[in-house]
């Protein structure tokens, strides 16, 4: 079995949090939330600082600023020269990096457990003391434009994905790419970056996750020493982004590009996300995605379209409910040679309709539940992955209790819940359908 399109999209259930990890949480007086996950098998520690600020929090006109600032965070402070942060981490055998999403920006270091103090001192320093020189910000703007060239403009799948997403969200800033629209990236300034930094980078807008060979007491002492003195920001309020109006009109997009070799159909439906204390529907959708397209051999789409009707060479369904606002439920069908996109899409819709009518196969449902239990066990082997789950959840509006309840919520999902959730979201008026096509072999979309 080979993954054709999206090797990164694994079965949604592998992203389950585990319940059994030893987790301790506390909050410093300046409102920095701290999560400690213990794993003493190897003398390694991961420090992650997550800010509740992502691309969807940007003002109109400065798209890409959250991600640009993430790059500039490596440019130095009063006490660290540009590049010295990463160099110091590497000099101590560690590695570091950062990432930006719509809902959060995160920074992490992985290092020997006895060097935690060093990275904590530096991470705390740059939370409030960033310095940006003229040279730094202009050169780095070139770098992010090269990043856009590499990740987006060189990849027809990414280009079309950006366009489809913009069509999915009529009003919510989730429709704007994280990297930014090129013409706005080219105009970003040092002041834009500093405005963003000063507003959002503060202990009362951050979550510190420390995972690995460390005790909560050690973390508490170090955090009080280094993060404790930092002043909170006054600009932090509960995030309220522009919300989606009722979506009443189906959107259908086509894209052709000489670089496309394999045509395919995508469909994304607007879908609810995990909410604090209310994760049941998201859990049902998670299981729905697994049943429909989680496994390349046994999922409903694979069975019907790849095995029985032989109309497709690859199918998948994907849903990730960890999101601050409404997210999407995604389907992909890659047609077999000689099968048109129109036929592939119709077949996909027939499968969905049949699924709603006949309901969930009890044996398949039982296998999903088994995998939920196993995922809890396997997740224990990757403490960095656990750290990411907590950071992601806490920056998308969830609580530690929600993270820990998630396996039970999943376990409690019934077959009827899955069908009810599917019936609710599979509404073409809230969906974007995309046809990716070879240049010169365009089909006319109905």
């Amino acid at each position: 079995m080979f993954h054709i399109l999206c090797p990164a999209i694994l079965a949604a259930l592998t992203a389950l949090p585990a319940l059994a990890e030893e987790v301790t949480t506390f909050t410093l007086p300046n409102d920095l939330e701290v999560v400690v996950i213990e794993d003493h098998r190897a003398p390694v520690v991961v420090q992650m600082v997550w800010y509740r600020a992502g691309a969807a929090d940007e003002k109109p006109g400065v798209s890409g600023i959250a991600h640009y600032l993430e790059h500039l965070m490596f440019k130095g402070t009063d006490t660290l020269a540009p590049g010295e942060f990463s160099r110091t981490v590497e000099d101590n055998g560690g590695s570091d990096n950062a990432f930006t999403s719509w809902d959060y920006t995160g920074y992490f270091q992985r290092i020997a457990a006895d060097r935690l103090e060093l990275v904590m001192r530096m991470e705390a320093d740059r939370m409030r003391n960033l310095k940006l020189t003229e040279d730094d910000w202009q050169t780095e703007r070139e770098v992010i434009i090269e990043e856009r060239n590499q990740r987006t403009d060189s990849d027809p799948g990414a280009i079309f994905g950006e366009q489809r997403r913009a069509a999915q969200y009529l009003n919510h800033p989730y429709g704007t790419p994280i990297i930014g629209w090129r013409q706005e990236m080219e105009q970003l300034t040092r002041q834009d970056a500093l405005d963003w930094y000063q507003r959002y980078y503060a202990p009362n807008n951050a979550i510190l996750v420390v995972a690995g060979d460390v005790t909560p007491e050690q973390v508490r002492q170090l955090a009080e020493t280094y993060y404790g003195p930092l002043e909170p920001s006054e600009g932090i309020a509960v995030r309220k982004r522009p919300q989606e109006p009722p979506q009443l009109a189906e959107r259908r997009l086509t894209y052709s590009d000489p670089r496309v070799s394999q045509p395919y159909v995508t469909r994304s439906y607007l879908a609810p996300e995990r909410d604090p204390g209310d994760q049941t529907k998201a859990a049902a959708l998670t299981i729905l995605a697994d049943l429909l397209g989680g496994d390349g051999q046994t999922s409903v789409l694979a069975r019907k379209l790849q095995f029985d009707r032989k109309l497709a060479i690859y199918t998948s369904a994907h849903y990730d409910g960890t999101s601050y606002d409404d997210t999407t439920f995604n389907l992909v069908v890659v047609p077999a040679e000689g099968v048109s996109l129109d036929e592939a899409e119709k077949a996909m819709d027939e499968v969905l309709a049949e699924f709603l009518e006949t309901g969930v196969d009890p044996a398949a449902f039982a296998r999903v539940k088994t995998r939920i239990h196993a995922a809890m066990i396997y997740a224990q082997d990757d403490v960095g992955g656990l750290a990411r789950r907590y950071g992601e959840a806490l920056t998308t509006g969830l609580t530690v209790a929600d993270v820990q309840a998630w396996p039970d919520v999943l376990d409690a999902v019934t077959e009827a819940d899955v069908i009810a959730a599917a019936t609710e979201i599979f509404d073409r008026r809230r969906a974007v359908t995309g046809w990716t096509m070879r240049a010169g072999e365009e089909e006319v979309m109905q």
Binding site: M1, F2, I4, L19, A20, E21, E22, E38, H40, R41, A42, P43, G83, S86, R87, E90, D91, N92, G93, G94, S95, I111, A112, T139, E142, V143, I144, E146, E147, N149, Q150, R151, D153, S154, P258, R259, V260, S261, Q262, G296, Q297, Q306, F307, K310, I313, Y314, V334, E337, A363, R367, T370, R371, A374, M376, I377, Y378, Q380, D381, V383, G384
Partner: protein, 436 residues
């Protein structure tokens, strides 16, 4: 119930000292050797199998046979068809992955302690009695063909393939493991049976296990799992001479950015200078931020999002390679910077401070790799293939520490040849001439 069990296990783990991994060399009653690390705190085992030879064992005209064969092992075995196999695997919550690389094929398994026996039986059927049913073969072939078609329009793959073709010519290293659409389409069930017999043999298997398993349990497992495989497989392919020359190859591709793969001859893994070259490469281009190329090409000039170099000591040839992408208008300047950095390294070597920083990083980061049952199993099987002793995990940092400034200078002069660098550029570069 399960939760209570975990909590107890974790409490036990927390009471253990965090110490280096203890590797044991074990031999099964049937004579199969393996490396074992017992780690009982989480109730599962990571098992890693690697068979040397890999896709380079594809016979002439049968390019793609090994990768197709490996892709079909989970598509029906014994009494189970493709879906039956997947259902059985999921019912046990076991995870199997099958991979095929130039020098080895690998099978990675994660199995819960509670049903390990059944999971092993299932994996054994995939290894020893794959069905290669016609419909499964056709289906997986179509997937590979789609990947081949996509690769033909992917600038990164085009660059890598072109570089490999220049470097290795007719040797298997010179072409895609997937074969061509023609070679893939023409493969028959008999070709798959032949590839299976040639690749999955006991004379080339390396094994490691990490997790909730004892020596006796592992021995029995291995005899059961591998005992039915043939004793010997296909003869190993021959070494190949590098056909690379210095210069620039430009492949036209409509894109705002040019993708560049570059490199020249490298060094064998068992060469006495290997560690010096490894440290040198860390300073030159492997170190991410802090490496010279990242500093010069990205940080100072903003010419790329990322640039890297690596040593590729494969079983049958060695290269020193790198890659980056730059806007079409900038790529010529970036290539000049790379050449200049190559030359500067030969002329001036590295500074004491650079050497120390590289050593601290390499020695400090090494233990961080051993951070889970899966990663440890992977490292251990790789060490066996490289014929390293178990003591290597303790000695390896001493090899790094022993590298001197003089060593670096000598090895830079021996191996780094700016004039030998071949750059394959896929895009519409401005102001850059193909040299030959």
């Amino acid at each position: 119930m399960i939760r209570v069990l975990f909590a107890a296990c974790l409490a036990l783990a927390a009471a253990l000292p965090a110490s280096a991994v203890e590797i044991r060399e074990v031999t099964s009653p049937g004579g199969i050797k393996a490396w074992l690390v017992e780690e009982h705190s989480i109730p599962f085992t990571a098992l890693e199998l690697r068979f040397k030879g890999g896709t380079s064992l594809d016979q002439p005209g049968k390019r793609g046979a090994t990768i197709l064969m490996m892709g079909l092992l989970e598509e029906g075995a014994g009494d189970l068809d493709s879906q039956g196999f997947a259902e059985a695997r999921d019912a046990l919550a076991a995870q199997f992955s099958f991979d095929a690389r130039d020098d080895a094929v690998s099978i990675s398994a994660r199995m819960l302690s509670e049903n390990r026996g059944e999971a092993v039986a299932l994996l054994k059927s995939a290894l020893t009695e794959p069905r290669f049913d016609d419909d499964a073969v056709a289906r997986v072939k179509a997937q590979v063909v789609s990947i081949i078609q996509s690769d033909e329009k992917d600038p990164n793959t085009i660059a890598a393939r072109s570089f490999d073709g220049l470097a290795f010519g007719d040797h298997p290293y010179g072409t895609s493991r997937n074969g061509t659409i023609d070679s893939m389409t023409a493969l028959t069930r008999d070709d798959l049976i032949a590839a299976h017999a040639g690749v999955l043999a006991r004379d080339r298997v390396y094994v490691s296990a990490v997790g909730d398993i004892t020596e006796a349990e592992l021995g029995a497992l291995l005899d059961d799992l591998l005992g039915g495989l043939p004793e010997t497989g296909a003869p190993m392919p021959p070494r190949t001479e590098l056909g690379l020359t210095g210069g620039v190859t430009v492949i036209d591709f409509a894109s705002p950015q040019s993708v560049v793969t570059f490199g020249h001859a490298g060094i064998k893994r068992d060469d006495p200078d290997f560690f010096t070259a490894y440290v040198l490469n860390q300073i030159l281009g492997a170190g991410g931020f802090g490496s010279r190329l990242m500093d010069e090409v990205r940080e100072k000039r903003g010419l790329t999002y990322g640039i890297y170099t690596y040593l590729a000591p494969m079983d049958l040839a060695e290269t020193w390679q790198g890659g980056f992408s730059s806007a079409n208008e900038k790529v010529a300047e970036a290539i000049e910077v790379v050449r200049a950095e190559w030359a500067r390294m030969v002329a001036d070597g590295v500074t004491e401070a650079e050497l120390e920083a590289a050593k601290t990083y390499l020695t400090g980061s090494y233990p961080l790799r051993f951070d889970g049952n899966g990663p440890i199993a992977d490292i251990l099987v790789g060490m066996q293939i490289e014929e390293l002793p178990t003591s290597y995990v303790n000695d390896r940092n001493a090899y790094i520490e022993a590298v001197t400034l003089d060593d670096i200078r000598r090895v830079a002069a021996r191996l780094l040849k700016p004039e030998d660098l071949r750059f394959v550029v896929v895009g519409r570069p401005v102001g850059l001439e193909a040299s030959n």
